[in-house]
C-alpha cells in the first residue's frame, strides 16, 4: 500500500460517521436578530434549562447545541440551515419560530435526513399533505388555538364577533380556524398589515361595527400595541377581547401591562397548570431566570424533555434513525402541559385551556387558568396526512 492509498483510506475513514454516536448535536435555528428575537430567546432558555437538569445530556448522550440565526427571513434561514446541516452535521433541528422559515427549511431537513422537531406552530401543509416521518411537532397546529377560542366564544353565547389578524397566509389561516369552530355571525373581518403598529384605524372600524366580542390573532409587538390601544380607546370594558395563545402571552403581558386585564385567550399550556411536571418547570424557571416562563420557554423545555425520553428509549443509539423516530413517536414522557400523545401526522393531541388575564397575589399581571375547553383535541389537517 503506497502513501497515496493510505492517505485516501485515512480520509475515507475520517469522513464516515462513527458506528455509535457519542453525542447528539442539536441545531437550534431561531430568530436572534429583529424585534421578535426576544421570544425566540425564551425558547432557547427553556431548552437549555432542561439540559441543566440533566447535566447537559439527553439520555446518556452529551449534547452539543449549536445556535443559529434565521433573521426571521426564509433566505437567511435556509443559509443558516445549510451551515447546520453541512458544516456542523446536526442530528436534530429545532427552534424555528416562524412559518415562512419553517416552510423553506423543512423540505431541506427531510432531504438531509435530519429530524425536524418543530417547537412552534405547525403550518397546515406540514400537518396535512406534506407531512413526513422526519417532521415532528411539540407545540400545536396553527389552527388549534383558534378552534379552542372559537369553541369558548360560542360557549359564552357571543353571537356577533369581529375578527382581526394580520394580512398574511398564517393570519388568514388563524381566522379560518376560528370560523371552523365558532357558530355565530361575523360582524367584520379586518386584516391590518404585518408589522403594523398603530391600530387606531382598525379600532375605529371595530367600534363602528358594534360586535359583541372581538377575536384577535396577533403576536409580539403588534399584540402589545393592539392591546394597549384597545384599552386606551375605552373598548376593553365594552367589547370583550378574545385572543389566540400568542396574542396574550407573557411577552405581551410584560409589554402591555394592565391594559390586558380581563382579556381571555386559549392555550395548550399555562404557567399555573396543576401537574407535577409543570410545577417543577415553573419553579426551576423562576429560580434561574427570575421571571415567569412563557409559552415559548415551555415549548423549548418540553422539546428537550421529549428528546430526553426518546434518546433514553434507544439507549443513545440515535444513529439508527428508524428506531429513534419510533421512540420519538412513542413520546413516553410527562409533559408539563398535561396529557400528550402524537397524532398520526406527528402533531400533538392535547387539551386546550381558556385563561384570563388577572392580577395575582403579588399584583403582577398574569394569565389565570379558567377552564378546560376541550380534551384530547386533534388538529384539523391530520386526515390529509398519508403517513
Amino acid at each position: 500500500m503506497n502513501i497515496r492509498t493510505a492517505l485516501l483510506a485515512a480520509l475515507a475513514l475520517a469522513s464516515t460517521p462513527p458506528w455509535a454516536a457519542d453525542k447528539i448535536t442539536i441545531g437550534f435555528l431561531t430568530t436572534r436578530t429583529g424585534p421578535l428575537s426576544g421570544i425566540s430567546g425564551e425558547k432557547l432558555e427553556g431548552f437549555q434549562l432542561y439540559l441543566k437538569t440533566t447535566g447537559g445530556k439527553l439520555g446518556r448522550l452529551p449534547v452539543e447545541v449549536i445556535v443559529a440565526d434565521d433573521q426571521n427571513n426564509p433566505d437567511a434561514g435556509r443559509q443558516a440551515f445549510e451551515r447546520l446541516a453541512k458544516r456542523d452535521r446536526v442530528d436534530v433541528l429545532t427552534g424555528i419560530m416562524f412559518s415562512n422559515v419553517i416552510l423553506s427549511v423543512a423540505p431541506a431537513a427531510v432531504q438531509s435526513k435530519i429530524l425536524f422537531i418543530n417547537s412552534n406552530v405547525q403550518p397546515s401543509e406540514l400537518a396535512g399533505e406534506r407531512c413526513n416521518p422526519y417532521i415532528f411537532n411539540t407545540a400545536y397546529q396553527s389552527d388549534d388555538t383558534d378552534e379552542a377560542v372559537g369553541r369558548y366564544v360560542t360557549e359564552r353565547a357571543h353571537k356577533n364577533v369581529a375578527l382581526l389578524a394580520p394580512n398574511f397566509p398564517a393570519g388568514r389561516d388563524h381566522l379560518n380556524g376560528f370560523k371552523r369552530a365558532y357558530k355565530g355571525a361575523i360582524a367584520v373581518e379586518i386584516l391590518p398589515r404585518v408589522g403594523q403598529l398603530d391600530f387606531s384605524v382598525e379600532i375605529a372600524q371595530i367600534r363602528a361595527a358594534k360586535p359583541d366580542a372581538v377575536f384577535v390573532f396577533l403576536f409580539g409587538g403588534m399584540a402589545v400595541n393592539f392591546v394597549k390601544q384597545y384599552a386606551q380607546a375605552g373598548l376593553a370594558k365594552e367589547i370583550p377581547l378574545y385572543g389566540a395563545a400568542s396574542t396574550l402571552e407573557e411577552d405581551v403581558l410584560r409589554g402591555a401591562g394592565e391594559s390586558a386585564l380581563g382579556m381571555v385567550s386559549a392555550s395548550n399550556w399555562n404557567a399555573d397548570l396543576d401537574n407535577p411536571a409543570n410545577k417543577r418547570f415553573v419553579a426551576l424557571h423562576e429560580k434561574e431566570y427570575k421571571r415567569r416562563p412563557s409559552l415559548y420557554s415551555f415549548q423549548g423545555w418540553d422539546t428537550a424533555a421529549l428528546l430526553d425520553a426518546a434518546v433514553k428509549d434507544v439507549d443513545g443509539k440515535i444513529e439508527n434513525r428508524e428506531a429513534f423516530r419510533a421512540a420519538l413517536r412513542k413520546a413516553s414522557f410527562s409533559s408539563a402541559r398535561g396529557p400528550f400523545k402524537f397524532g398520526p401526522n406527528q402533531v400533538p393531541i392535547q387539551d386546550w385551556y381558556a385563561r384570563r388575564v388577572e392580577k395575582d397575589a403579588q399584583g403582577q399581571v398574569v394569565n389565570r387558568y379558567l377552564h378546560t375547553v376541550v380534551r384530547g383535541h386533534a388538529d384539523a389537517y391530520a386526515s390529509q396526512c398519508k403517513m
Binding site: 424585534p35 426576544g38 384605524v201 367600534r207 386606551q232 380607546a233
Partner: protein, 303 residues
C-alpha cells in the same frame, strides 16, 4: 362618526410624521445629507423616554431627557463622523448611515434586550373623552395632536421669525451663497442635525405609550418619512407638513375605507384580501403620481 374618528387618527399620524420628516428635510436640504439612520433617533427617543418614565414616574422628565439624549448623540455623531462625508456624495452617505442603523439597532438590543419594552400612558391621560355622541376618543391621542400642533407652530415660528430660521432657510435655498454671506455653516449644520434628532426623538417619546417600543422601530417609519420629504419638497418645512398630512390621510383613509369600498363591486373575500394590500401600495402610487407632475415636490424650498 367613523369618518370623524378616522380623521382624528389621520391628524395624529400626520403630525407625528411631520416631526420626523421636518428634521429629515432640513438635514437633506441644508446639508445635502442622506441620513438613512434618522429613524434611529426616533427609536432612541422612545427607549430613553420609556426608561426614564419607568424609573422616575415623571413624563416631563422622560421627555426632556429623551430630547437631550437624542440631540446630544446626534450632534456627537455629526461632529465625529458625518462631517467627514459631506463632500463625499450621496453614495458614501448611504453607506455610512446604513452602517449606523446596524450599529444603533444592535447597541439598543445590547442595552435594553431584544424584547419590546413597555411605556405606560401617563395616568392623567389614560382615559377616553366623549367628543360627540357615540365617539369617545383616547385622551392620550388627543394630547398627541395638541402637542404635535404646538411643536409644529414653534418650529414654524423659529424658521420664519428668528435669525436661526433665516440661516436655515438661506442654507436650504442656496448653501454656497449662505456660506459666502458669512453664515457659520459648520455650527449651523451641527445645530440643525441635533434639532432634527431631537424632533424625531420627541415623536418617538410621544408615540412610545401607544406603540411597542422595539428594536428596528425606526426602519418602519423612515420610509414614510422619506416619502413625505420627497412629496413635500426637499428642505421645505411647510412642504413636510403638507406632505405628512397628505400621506397620513391616504394611509388612514385607505386602510379604513378601501376594503369596504372594494367590497361594493368585488366578491367579499377578494375585497378583504386585496384591500389592505392596495392601501399599502397607495402611498407609493401617490408619490409616483406627485413626482410625475411636480418632480421637485409640492412646495420646494429653492426659489
Amino acid at each position: 362618526m367613523l369618518f370623524l374618528e378616522q380623521t382624528l387618527n389621520a391628524l395624529q399620524l400626520g403630525l407625528m410624521l411631520f416631526l420626523i420628516a421636518a428634521g429629515l428635510t432640513l438635514v437633506f436640504g441644508i446639508m445635502d445629507l442622506v441620513n438613512l439612520a434618522h429613524g434611529s433617533f426616533y427609536m432612541l427617543g422612545a427607549y430613553v423616554a420609556a426608561t426614564v418614565a419607568a424609573k422616575s414616574g415623571s413624563f416631563a422628565a422622560a421627555f426632556l431627557v429623551a430630547l437631550a439624549a437624542a440631540a446630544g448623540v446626534g450632534m456627537l455623531v455629526e461632529w465625529l463622523l458625518l462631517r467627514r462625508v459631506y463632500g463625499r456624495g450621496h453614495l458614501s452617505q448611504v453607506l455610512v448611515t446604513f452602517a449606523l442603523i446596524l450599529i444603533a439597532n444592535e447597541t439598543v438590543r445590547w442595552i435594553w434586550g431584544a424584547n419590546p419594552i413597555d411605556m405606560g400612558v401617563p395616568r392623567s391621560l389614560a382615559g377616553s373623552v366623549a367628543l360627540a355622541p357615540g365617539l369617545s376618543y383616547s385622551e392620550y391621542r388627543l394630547a398627541i395632536i395638541v402637542a404635535g400642533l404646538a411643536l409644529a407652530a414653534a418650529l414654524f415660528w423659529m424658521v420664519n421669525c428668528t435669525r436661526l430660521g433665516i440661516w436655515i432657510r438661506a442654507g436650504a435655498s442656496n448653501r454656497d451663497m449662505a456660506r459666502a454671506l458669512g453664515v457659520d455653516t459648520s455650527r449651523l449644520f451641527t445645530l440643525v442635525f441635533g434639532l432634527g434628532a431631537a424632533l424625531s426623538a420627541f415623536a418617538g417619546a410621544m408615540l412610545g405609550p401607544i406603540l411597542s417600543v422595539q428594536v428596528g422601530m425606526g426602519e418602519a417609519i423612515i420610509i414614510l418619512a422619506f416619502v413625505v420629504v420627497v412629496i413635500g419638497g426637499i428642505g421645505s418645512v411647510r412642504g413636510a407638513l403638507l406632505g405628512s398630512i397628505v400621506v397620513a390621510a391616504v394611509d388612514t383613509y385607505g386602510r379604513a375605507f378601501l376594503p369596504s369600498a372594494l367590497g361594493a363591486f368585488l366578491p367579499l373575500d377578494i375585497a378583504t384580501h386585496l384591500g389592505p394590500g392596495l392601501s399599502q401600495v397607495s402611498i407609493f402610487v401617490l408619490m409616483a403620481a406627485i413626482l410625475f407632475f411636480r418632480p421637485r415636490g409640492l412646495m420646494p424650498a429653492t426659489g
